[in-house]
Amino acid sequence: MEDALSSKMAEFMTALDQVKKYRSIVASMPDFTLILLGSVVAALSVNVSMRLSTLFIGRNDGLSIVAFFLIMLLFPAGIITAILWVRRKMKSVKVGQWKSTLNEGAPGAIELLQDIQWDNIFSDIRYAKLGFFLYGIAKILAFWGLAVVSLFVFNWLVEFVLHMSIDYITVMLFSLVAVLVLSRNDLRKRYEQMGRLDWLMWELRWFESEFKGANFEA
């Protein structure tokens, strides 16, 4: 009975740790957006500077090539940095601090249960779901942007070499379909995880009502 309680409690606390990590996604969404927007501003600034210098100073092929590659690098670099930043924030969330308390057995499990602030946990789960959803959307949009930029470069090369080109709407639609197909595993994982969070919420609601109705003696 004691082992079952400890094991159930370990499972429960692990799920809560996961919620804490997802909750940190919401907290890092402004940073994610700032990094992405910053990279777009930087890429557009290089583009505008290059156009102005070509117009007012004169054509400089070397500088144009450097600027072109800089523009092509800045946006993908922004996406990668933003994703790495969110992951870093997620990894920095302290988890497993309950393990030492749980090692004490049933008294430790009951102590952990008594320390739980239920309202905060339900709020955290709601935020975790929101963060998980928003991050998924932002990631798809960022990869779509990257795919569009890459396809435009490819289109430009095809036009340059073969004198053929794909129209803009096709480029946009094709890149969206490609990103959705390539992200299908991530989308499925995200959908399942949202379902799990819903399930956890219901389970906790039930657990909360049971726990509040029971009398524990440590």
Partner: protein, 178 residues
Amino acid sequence: MKKIWLILALTVIIVAQVTFMSSFHSTFTHSYVSGTSAVVVSKMKYAYARVSIDILSSHFNSTVTLTFPNGTQQEITGHSYTMEVFLPRTGDFLGNDAIGTIITTTPNSPTDSDYDSLPRISLSSKHPVDADVVQNIPSNFLSWYDNPNYEFYNKIDVFWFEIQGEANIFISGSGMAI
């Protein structure tokens, strides 16, 4: 909360940058010429333009001569010759006048519709910089341009020069209408 304002500020900057970028325009043309031809670069007065003109002789021994409107002549002896022309902003017209002005005129004659098959100076608010190569030009080429009665005289700038000889001409230009 500060981050939200920073996000708003960056979004405003991006919208401003994209709007500013819409004022940049480009033009490109390529042509093979022989006999007496002309390169015509035109722009709306409210636009800046820089045009790069590459002239490649068709034969190594052939001579290509450029004649500018003021009578100056330049003989090109090498295989290739590149020149850059910068046309500054020289005037302004605003509102519907700027948006609604669409100029399509043959360089030889702005009024004669018999010249419809010839290259056209084609300018509008969406294409404020243009470059054309016109073959077999008459002696009074572009004489209309200095005529103050020409309805678009106060709206466009035209730079041109004659080319005598056989050559391939590549013109690429960029402009900014602001």
